[in-house]
Symmetry: C2
């Protein structure tokens, strides 16, 4: 075999992803060397506790608690520490020392992306983060490079495996949210504290990253409208199923024009929505992820695969690592993020969506007319209406599907419905996405 | 706006893809300039006949019949001429003149890939070809870069939109191949001479490109085993449907170990196969394409979208163009193809598959035993057997599903069955792929 010079790789963090990255780097060293044209030498693994028990047995001589020294001796730093600090400082230190950086840290990118990209650009360092969104699925590189000559109009992403597992289980077994969550926890798909997942926080971070990248702008996680799945009921899932829909937690990134001002803007939002069964996203089962992209020229595209898992996510980290290493071998600086567009992020009230609203109403003449008037007053057009009366009951159930309308108008409509004397309760409000 | 220096882009060919590339380059010049950091200046479009009628009206002053002069005045050459010559000579000339090249020419890559990649590597030029496989779907870049640190084990691709349209229509409407092809022609999904599509030639070229890339080796199109869909009958599609399968024309690229010699090898092959309805590929309808990739670490991934169409494929061309232009702005040579592995391509007889065989047999005692003996003699294990007798007939229909066995043993089994006195006819032989 040809002898190449070597590239020093420093790994920060040896959790479920980090330990798999280390294992693959060590086990496939020869094959990777051939592909890169240089030896990828794992020079150290920075951890908090060198004696901690790990999923994968790692060579003791590589473990260190001194992350800063490891960074100084590395050409490429892989940050898999997670969280904001000390990850942020370590990444900045790595960039400052002339290293390229691979990270899978979505929280860090969603809150400090612009700072980190600017630091990397200033010194010509590469900052890659394929592993930060949708685990093993190549989505960052396709958006960043393959679609760089196209115009992304919309992204609908199932980017959180835990909630997709829960909603899929509710859909296929009729389970309650509570029971489905219990199963997810039992099978290791949900963490002991599932708030980040079921509250939509994890998906919101990914939406911020995807929107920033797709629209060449900067969308901070605080600008992402976020609703989790905690209010999704077995009844809602069952009604959706009967109507030909499935409930999915979607991260939605959209390029749009404010209907009133005509201003260009983008929207990034996360909420459970009704997706038609015929949409490719409806067939994403279990803890899988998928990102559905609509681009002006390319049309609809979908990227599907495992959204989490140590070894799966390690594949994405290694892909970034090899790309950077090849660049180092062939020469040339990293490619900067293109965030020149600086498009404003529109708040949720200014976007247009469709609602599916379920009401319990009193079963008496004139009710429909009153309901219809409330919609008309708020300028919301009804597309579909279905009324069912249980025998012997004085209540009727109305399921109303709206046409596209401004989110604020829809919200006001729902508020007015809730206060109407003929409405006993607003049983369910869900947005409808992915109409084909 | 900041003024950037410009990059001269020469376009060869103005067919359905080329004319859309020209249109997008001209219409989106400002947006692309922002993303690239330099103006992409379309300096000329080489065509055979400057007065020919085209899908898109192009500025007359850009049209030229002098491709060679255009190449000499271009920093990046986009080759969308198609076919082998003069495309090959023009690409070599472009590389020789110091230009980078984007091509969507699958025929050229499948037959002359190694020559072109070697020429590009020698001078540090980039040769990109996302548009050559699966139209708008980003598959080349994910395989080349995102999965560069992983190990691709297998690719199952629906890479020909025409045949997928035909088979999907046969599946959903019960149409014959002839009728479905007529519809495809009528709707513009099939060309006047559909041989390249329905004969599997187009898919075989794409299989050669995918296998070369995925396994870091060189698989010439001549080494791809190819069967088209011309023999697929409405009966086969209907039986498949009843058994929970759908017939798809698959391009299969597989890394495998020869069961006899223990040698590592790869297989690239194209044939209609039975795919379980539950497989993500079964949900690929119409003229869409999808590539299902199984990688060691990443697990299963799927890439889905439009496999053809002028503007869709133009998106892939522009993605390559922008990536190369960014590289030119930031400095540094192109990335060479990594074909160092040189893994042998195993011929079809040495791979293992599963067969579904339908036989018409005489309905008399002892027939099953004789059939079973033929399978046993060839070392092929039967997984499933279903017998049905039509009333008043002296014939029975046997549908036999085998376990995995060597392709050569399966072929010999089928040949022996055809010669058996108890077999009236071998009605159908299809391979089964994508078992979950």
């Amino acid at each position: 075999m040809i002898e190449y010079r070597s590239i020093r790789v420093g790994l920060l963090g040896a959790g479920s992803v980090g330990s798999q990255v280390a294992r693959l780097l060590l086990e496939h060293a020869d094959e990777l060397e051939q592909r890169v044209g240089a030896r990828l030498e794992l020079v150290g693994i920075a951890v908090r506790d060198t004696s901690a028990k790990r999923d994968v047995e790692l060579p003791a001589e590589l473990l260190t608690t001194d992350a800063e020294s490891l960074i100084l001796g590395s050409d490429i730093v892989i940050e898999l520490v997670g969280g904001i600090e000390p990850a942020r400082s370590l990444v900045l230190q790595a960039i400052g020392s002339g290293a390229d950086v691979v990270t899978g840290n979505k929280a860090l990118l969603a809150s400090h992306g612009p700072e980190l990209f600017a630091a990397a650009e200033q010194v010509g360092a590469q900052l890659s983060y394929e592993a930060a969104v949708a685990g093993a699925i190549p989505i960052i590189r396709p958006l960043r490079e393959s679609l760089a000559g196209d115009r992304v109009d919309r992204i609908l992403g199932i980017v959180n495996g835990t909630t997709n597992f829960i909603l899929d289980r509710m859909d296929t077994t009729g389970a309650s949210l509570e029971d489905a969550l219990a199963t997810a926890t039992e099978l290791g798909y949900a963490e002991a504290d599932p708030t980040a997942d079921i509250g939509g926080y994890d998906a919101a971070q990914k939406a911020a990253i995807l929107a920033s990248l797709a629209f060449h702008t900067s969308v901070p996680v605080e600008a992402v409208h976020r609703e989790g799945i905690t209010e999704v009921s077995a009844d809602q899932v069952e009604s959706a199923r009967r109507a030909g829909y499935v409930v999915k937690l979607l991260a939605i990134c959209e390029r749009l024009t404010d209907p009133e001002t005509g201003d260009e803007g983008v929207s990034a939002r996360v909420y459970p929505a009704l997706v038609p069964r015929s949409h490719p996203l409806a067939a994403v089962h279990g803890a899988n992820n998928a990102v559905f992209v609509e681009a002006s020229a390319a049309g609809p595209l979908m990227f599907y695969g495992a959204g989490a898992g140590g070894v799966q996510t390690a594949s994405a980290v290694l892909g970034d690592l090899v790309a950077i290493a090849r660049r180092r071998v062939s020469g040339g600086p990293g490619t900067a993020e293109s965030t020149q567009a600086e498009v404003p992020v529109l708040e949720i009230g200014r976007i247009t969506t469709r609602y599916a609203i379920t009401l319990e109403v009193t079963d008496e003449p004139g009710v429909l007319e009153q309901i219809a008037r409330i919609f008309a007053l708020h300028g919301v057009s009804v597309e579909q209406l279905q009324q069912s009366v249980s025998e012997g009951s004085q209540r009727a159930t109305l399921v109303i599907g709206t046409h596209e309308a401004k989110e604020s108008a829809l919200a006001e409509t729902v508020a007015a419905l809730a206060q109407s004397p003929v409405v006993a309760s607003v049983a369910s409000v869900l947005r409808v996405e992915g109409a084909l």
